[in-house]
């Protein structure tokens, strides 16, 4: 997904770390990783540790980290948009103009990453970056613990107990699409994009599924 970007910028002291938030583990992520044939890091994160550490709620999200190991942007939506919500569910297609708009938004995002690497642009100063960090509440912290337990129980074949833990995780952290969709997918592959998913997306109303990044060219 990021290979073109990486190829252009790797000689400029740039690295991509792609993390699969995949509780089914490496073998489940393998086909996509092998197809991508990336030369950057492709890592497997079955416990969703990165999402917990950085306060992420969806995929794809990104964090930009500078040479000193400091967060200069993020977590933010990484190039995806809400155009998919206008998909024709019967035909599973998106109108051409919406496809074009979606592709243009992704290209703009990649350009922003490139501008950061080549010129330092878009990196936020400390107070701005700190202000944009997600607020981690006790409920969210507890949700991550329930999710972790759910993943472990599922791995042990204790499906019913796992589902109870996942339900509690989503109750405590309803904004986390990672938790809800991963739990749905663990129940049955494909559930994460099924009718329950679309109902949950519809229930967002005017709220974004993929909030756009706070970058020029991304209307909010």
């Amino acid at each position: 997904m990021w290979q073109v970007l990486y190829d252009e910028l790797k000689d400029r002291g740039f690295m991509v770390v792609a993390v699969a938030e995949e509780s089914r583990g490496a073998e489940h992520a393998r086909p996509w990783i092998e197809q991508a044939n990336a030369t950057y890091w492709s890592l497997i994160d079955p416990d969703h540790r990165v999402a917990e550490l950085y306060g992420m709620v969806n995929v794809p999200q990104s964090v930009w980290i500078d040479e000193a190991g400091r967060i200069v942007r993020g977590p933010e939506t990484a190039g995806s948009t809400d155009h998919f919500r206008q998909m024709d569910l019967a035909t599973r297609t998106l109108a051409p103009e919406l496809q074009a708009a979606r592709a243009a938004a992704r290209a703009r995002y990649l350009d922003a990453v490139k501008a950061w690497v080549t010129t330092g642009r878009h990196a936020l100063a400390a107070d701005a970056a700190a202000a944009k960090l997600p607020r981690i509440t006790p409920a969210i912290a507890e949700a991550h613990a329930h999710f972790r337990l759910g993943v472990w129980l599922k791995r042990q074949g204790r499906a019913a107990e796992a589902e109870r833990q996942f339900a509690e995780a989503s109750r405590l952290h309803p904004d986390s699409w990672n938790m809800w969709r991963q739990a749905a997918d663990l129940e049955a592959v494909g559930n994460a994009s099924g009718p329950a998913f679309w109902a949950r997306v519809k229930a967002l109303g005017d709220r974004a599924y993929y909030p756009p990044p706070d970058l020029e060219g991304f209307p909010r």
Binding site: A26, L43, Y54, R70, E142, W152, E161, N178
Partner: protein, 133 residues
Amino acid sequence: MATVLTETGDFSVTARATGSGALWLDTTDAERVTGWTSKPEGMCRDDVCVPLPAGAVRGDAVDVAAFWRRLDNPVLSDDAGDVWVLGTGAAARTRALAGLEAPDVTLPDLAGTPHRLSTLRGKKVFLATWASW
């Protein structure tokens, strides 16, 4: 035997006793799973010592659940008390992010080789999550 799931990994321990939300481990296991060291002053890490709550120490056994909750961290277990989660509380999570230092993490690639994020210091890193679901 019990399993304790923490930020640093999954641990097999011998639970001396569980029940009423307590997880009694011997000192060695308590130190292993928490990353804190047992001293007369309490549990200590770096320059900080936290006295154990009253009733959370008995001889060489520590109620790790009581200690962990004392730090405002979530503690969960399954009904049987076979598996425990020592989670990271909101305040600790917020403190870790407040200085904007990117939290370090080590994760495996497809071959199982671990990669540690902080070894990339000196480069600009684009850390991005994805999933097949």
